[in-house]
């Protein structure tokens, strides 16, 4: 019973449109963690990492796919919120957002580790559940 309730997010019945994950992938440690967390979530099937640069660059295929997504998650490493702002600049208003500094990870003081990546991926996974 418990297993049925905790089935993977990707298998929910919210339509065939994908859940897309955008990470800031910034230069700092927290940016790197956000990047690796997005890739981990993709491997686990919680959603599909997508190219944030395609939104910033207004690449039509990427923008259109994002418009059609059932859910969008933005992962930001630091309070500058570049991923969130990039999506907003691209005209996207409604999306989930995870900020690493809200999870206690400080820029420049959060060495990349499996534990931190897992922690971010877990927070992201929660936001992607329907």
């Amino acid at each position: 019973m418990a297993e049925t309730e905790k089935k993977p997010a990707a298998s929910c019945e919210c339509g065939t449109a994908p859940k897309l994950i955008f990470s800031c992938s910034g230069a700092a440690d927290v940016g790197h963690i956000s990047d690796l967390a997005a890739r981990k979530l993709t491997r686990e099937g919680a959603g599909k990492m997508f190219c944030l640069a395609g939104i910033g660059g207004r690449v039509s295929g990427i923008v259109e796919t994002t418009k059609a997504a059932s859910k969008v998650l933005a992962i930001d490493g630091c309070p500058l919120d570049c991923a969130r702002k990039s999506l907003e600049e691209g005209g996207f208003e409604e999306f989930e957002h995870v900020r690493l500094s809200d999870l206690g990870m400080e820029k420049g003081k959060s060495p990349v580790s499996d534990e931190l990546v897992d922690k971010v991926a877990a927070a992201g996974s929660e936001r992607l559940v329907c």
């Binding site: 800031c24 992938s25 230069a27 790197h32 060495p111």
Partner: protein, 201 residues
């Protein structure tokens, strides 16, 4: 008459001294502004890079040495005399896309940053028009954009934000096909090496 000549000469001397003083003041102001610009660049452009990760994680991730949180860039220099001779600001933006080639682009930008060839900055900050990152990019002398695939999202992001002049490296142009290029140390090193040639030494 003699005293008149004496007075004129004294006046000339005084004017010369005033001009010399003026030029010295102007020069020191210019030098100060240069120092401030460098300091701004060191903070804004590389604030992110200062704490770049200590180690990569995950089985598929190649082990690429990255600087620890205390590693200071060469821009921070040593001593006041170093100001004039500091290297020009070279910023690197990677598409950091979802595909294998996007990850290679990302890791090669981090590698170049770690080796001091340039400084990786946050492309999302350009797409999001985030002020400090926009200003740092505007103030940089050279920009390198690394794109994983022919969609050229990094190039398009910079162009959308008004940047016209920058170096560009597309992994597809060096034989790396999207979806068919496993992320390896060799692939990352190859891209980093190509990127290095596009940045002034």
């Amino acid at each position: 008459m003699e005293s008149w000549h004496h007075l004129t000469r004294l006046r000339h001397c005084w004017h010369s001294l005033c001009e010399l003083h003026g030029s010295l003041v102007a020069r020191s102001t210019i030098m100060a502004s240069k120092v401030n610009r460098r300091r701004f660049l060191a903070t804004a452009a590389t604030g992110a890079a200062v704490g770049v990760a200590a180690s990569a994680s995950g089985a598929e991730t190649p082990s690429i040495p990255l600087p620890d949180a205390n590693t200071k860039s060469s821009v921070d220099g040593a001593g006041p005399g170093a100001e004039c001779c500091r290297p020009a600001t070279k910023l690197i933006f990677a598409c950091s896309g979802a595909a294998d080639v996007g990850k290679i682009a990302d890791l090669s930008a981090r590698k170049l940053s770690e080796s001091g060839v340039g400084k990786m900055s946050c492309l999302a900050g350009i797409g999001g028009r985030v002020k400090p990152l926009m200003e740092a990019a505007e103030a940089s002398e050279t920009i390198l954009a690394i794109d994983g695939c022919p969609l050229q999202c990094a190039r398009n992001t910079l162009e959308q934000a008004g940047f016209k002049k920058f170096e560009h490296l597309c992994l597809a142009d060096i034989g790396m096909v999207k979806g068919q290029t496993p992320v390896t140390d060799e692939a990352v090193a190859k891209v980093a090496s190509q990127g290095k040639t596009k940045l002034p030494q």
